[in-house]
Structures are given as structure tokens and as C-alpha cells.
């Protein structure tokens, strides 16, 4: 593991920004409706909460399971202690991708380049067949796309990995 010391020191602060984890009493309710808990290895939010609380940085850093989350927020609904487990998942991902560029999702370069994860507005012919007008999307508006890219350039992930956004 190649963690910068600073990041290690900041584990608690970075991952538990809301201070909610202290209330987790490991009841496992968050697992009961979680689709990704069905995976192999399973996503076990309870265990992730524990790893953060105990400061098990190396283990947490290697965890792939937070990326299997489907974002359904069922855990947030179920948790009796208002720990907001889905926010925890996002915070762990943020912490990992901030400290390990191989975790930076390629989709953000697509969004930077054309505004979308998919090739939106390249199907005007099909749209016309369906009776749809062309969409006023950002990839057809140079000025707005440039403003959008300049805005993103000032945010941490894009500034730190600017070589990905050429």
C-alpha cells in the first residue's frame, strides 16, 4: 500500500465526515435489504463501519466491495441509528480514489469531455423517427461546455488528475 501519511492520519476525518459512525452499534440491520450483500465477496456495510471506527486503514484501502453498491438507500432506510450507511459507502470510495488514482472512475472523464456518461444527442435521426426534436444538450454548445470544463478543472479530482482530462 502506498498511502500518504497525511491521508492515513486523516482517515477518521475523511471517511466519517458527518460523525455519524460513532452511533453504529453493529446491529447488521443495514445488511438485511442490501442487494450487494448477496455478492461474493459480499458488501457488508456493518463491517466497513467497523473498519473505519477501528482505523483499519490498510484493509479499508483494499476493499473493493463499496463499489458494488447499487445506491438503493435501503440501508439508510433501515439503520436504527441514523448512521447513513450509503453516505459512508460514498465517503469510502472518495477516500480511496483521492489516495489511489487507479480508483478514479473513467466515467468522470466522459462527463468532462461531453457532459454525459453516454453518447447523448448523437441519435437525431432515430429521434426524428420517434417524433422527437433534437435535444439542446451541452455537447452542442461549445461555450457552455467550456464553462463546464473550466468549472470542473477547479475541483479536487480533476485538478489532481489533470492528465486524464486532456
Amino acid at each position: 500500500m502506498d498511502l500518504q501519511t497525511e491521508a492515513v492520519k486523516d482517515l477518521w476525518k475523511d471517511v466519517d465526515r458527518l460523525g455519524d459512525l460513532l452511533h453504529c452499534f453493529n446491529c447488521s440491520t443495514c445488511l438485511s435489504g442490501c442487494p450487494a450483500s448477496y455478492g461474493d465477496p459480499p458488501l457488508l456495510v456493518r463491517n466497513l463501519a467497523r473498519k473505519v471506527l477501528y482505523g483499519l486503514e490498510e484493509e479499508l484501502f483494499e476493499e473493493d466491495t463499496p463499489w458494488a453498491c447499487v445506491s438503493c438507500s435501503k440501508c439508510e432506510e433501515m439503520c436504527p441509528m441514523d448512521v447513513k450507511p450509503f453516505e459512508l459507502i460514498l465517503h469510502i470510495r472518495q477516500w480511496q480514489s483521492t489516495n489511489d488514482e487507479t480508483r478514479v472512475p473513467p466515467s468522470i472523464t466522459e462527463i468532462y469531455r461531453r457532459g454525459y456518461t453516454q453518447a447523448v444527442a448523437t441519435n437525431d435521426e432515430l429521434r426524428a423517427e420517434l417524433g422527437l426534436k433534437p435535444l439542446p444538450t451541452i455537447n452542442k454548445n461549445e461555450e457552455q461546455l467550456k464553462l463546464f470544463q473550466e468549472m470542473l478543472m477547479k475541483t479536487p479530482v480533476v485538478a489532481a488528475n489533470d492528465y486524464m482530462f486532456g
Binding site: Y38, C69, S71, E77, Q94, N123, L130, L132, L135, P136
Partner: protein, 299 residues
């Protein structure tokens, strides 16, 4: 009623027939939809929300500011867009320091985020504002004689404290009543509230288990219901529930799972007599039986 229509990435790129169905039906029900010019990805949870708070909220802020400029709430169908935009807005409203930072970033655009535009899901507007009774009056081509099941979009149910347009998230009724308003019989089954499992990295990172997870659901549908169709109201549910049936069929070497999946507004459009070639045209799960049935009942 007028909204900024937020289409996200998948609907206009992959399933524009759903977009056509939404536009055609909502306008006829008195809901005017204006385009959210220059919108960008919501952003999807696997993108900026997984890298850092600032790029996430700058992207949410970009979208929210467009709707605020038009002084309209945002209407979405995609569950992930709904959740991401809603959470983005909440974070910005709760964290004044972050809101200030995002407004600094937005300054060159001349726009800002103040929280004036809310995020509304299309089923909420149909269920709460238009109401199933009013929808039933608009039906010229009924689904009478057909059985359906409903897939609730998770993102519209949880966390109910902040999403909540159902009386009870444990017993949601909106989608059911909306489909019943079209004349169909809606069957219940044991895994009705199980997530489709299609969003995020579940399918990608652990496909074998994710497929089994979906198969359990489809087995329950086949065993416990007479479903001729599945009604969803989320682009991910729509695409995943079609694709995964085909995937399982390939694995088992027979066409066992072939229940057509419709976005609710597609069914509504068909029931209002719209042309299937426009509002229900793109699919990899044959729908002719449903189209033919509707045509026959109407005649």
C-alpha cells in the same frame, strides 16, 4: 403545471422511445415540460460522487442552477438521477460553506444555486398531482384482461424521511394504483419489493451472484403471478430487467424468462392510443403480444 424535464444519460441515448412516451403523455395530462438546456450527467453515483464532494456538488449545482434560472422544479424518471440530484440539493442546502464554494465555481455562468427548484419523480406527479382517477378517464385503449406486476424504483422509496410520497414505504401503492388505472390486474408476489439490482457496480463486480439475485425474483414472478408484463418507472430497472432475462435464457439454453418490461409512461401512452412505433419501439424483449392485445381490446 410546468417542469424542467431532466432526461439524464440513458433515456435519450439508449431508450428515446421512453422519452417520447413521457413527453406525449404528460403534455396531454396538462403537465408542460420544458427542456433543461445544457444539462449534464446528474452526476451518476459511480462518477463524481465517488471521487470528492466538491466535483459532485459542482455538477449537481450546474444542473440545479439551470432549473432555478427557469424557476421550475425538475421532473425525472431515472431513479439514480432522482436520488443524485435530490442528495446534491440537500447537501448544498445543509452545508452553507459548500454552497458558497459551488456558487463561486458557478459564477462565470451567471447562475447560482439557492435551492429554489425541487426534484420530483414522474410517478409522484402522476400519483399525487394528476391522480389515478384522472388517468383512468384518459384511457381509450385499456389493458383489460392483462395481468401485470410493478417494480417500485428504490430511489423513490428510500430514505422515506426525505423522499416519501407514499403513505408507507413498506407498503407502497402508487405504481400499483397507476397501473390499475389503465385497466390491468396487478398481481402481488413475495419478492415484489426486492431491488432490480441493476444499478451501480453489483452486476459488474459480482455478475454470477447478481444474476442469481435477479433470477430469484423472476422465478417468484413466474411461480406466483400471471404477469403478462412488468411496469417500472426507472430507466435502470427497465434496461436491467430486460437484459438480465435474456442473459439467464442464454445461460440455461431456453427462452424461459420473457416477460416484457415497460416504463409506466409507455403503458400510459399506449393506453391513450399513441403509436407503439413511437412510444414503445426499442426493446430486446418482444412486446407484440401486449401491443396486439391493446389494439384488439380497443377495436
Amino acid at each position: 403545471m410546468e417542469f424542467c424535464l431532466f432526461l439524464g444519460c440513458n433515456t435519450p441515448a439508449v431508450r428515446p422511445d421512453v422519452e417520447r412516451a413521457i413527453r406525449a403523455t404528460m403534455e396531454e395530462l396538462g403537465v408542460d415540460l420544458i427542456d433543461t438546456d445544457n444539462y449534464v450527467c446528474c452526476p451518476a453515483f459511480g462518477s463524481f460522487p465517488s471521487t470528492d464532494e466538491e466535483s459532485w456538488l459542482a455538477t449537481s449545482g450546474w444542473n440545479l442552477s439551470l432549473a432555478e434560472e427557469k424557476q421550475r422544479d425538475i421532473l425525472v424518471q431515472c431513479g439514480s438521477c432522482y436520488s443524485s440530484l435530490r442528495m446534491g440539493r440537500e447537501h448544498l442546502m445543509h452545508d452553507k460553506k459548500m454552497q458558497k464554494r459551488i456558487n463561486e465555481l458557478l459564477e462565470p455562468t451567471g447562475r447560482s444555486v439557492q435551492g429554489g427548484s425541487k426534484i420530483r419523480h414522474v410517478t409522484e406527479v402522476l400519483y399525487r398531482e394528476i391522480t389515478p382517477a384522472k388517468i383512468a378517464e384518459k384511457v381509450t385503449h385499456s389493458l383489460e384482461g392483462l395481468h401485470g406486476i410493478v417494480q417500485y424504483p428504490c430511489h423513490t422509496l428510500f430514505p422515506s424521511e426525505v423522499v416519501g410520497f407514499e403513505d408507507s414505504p413498506r407498503e407502497p401503492k402508487g405504481m400499483r394504483e397507476l397501473v390499475e388505472a389503465l385497466g390491468a390486474t396487478v398481481d402481488s408476489y413475495s419478492l415484489e419489493r426486492q431491488c432490480c439490482g441493476g444499478a451501480g457496480g453489483f452486476m459488474k463486480s459480482t455478475p454470477e451472484q447478481a444474476i442469481q439475485f435477479a433470477k430469484n425474483k423472476f422465478d417468484a414472478i413466474l411461480e406466483e403471478t400471471k404477469a403478462d408484463f412488468i411496469a417500472v418507472s426507472c430507466i435502470t430497472c427497465l434496461m436491467h430487467m430486460e437484459n438480465v432475462q435474456n442473459t439467464i435464457n442464454k445461460q440455461i439454453g431456453e427462452e424461459k424468462y420473457k416477460i416484457p418490461v415497460f416504463d409506466y409512461n409507455q403503458l400510459l401512452a399506449l393506453c391513450m392510443g399513441k403509436d407503439p412505433k413511437e412510444v414503445s419501439a426499442i426493446t430486446n424483449m418482444p412486446r407484440d403480444a401486449i401491443h396486439d392485445h391493446i389494439a384488439k381490446v380497443a377495436a
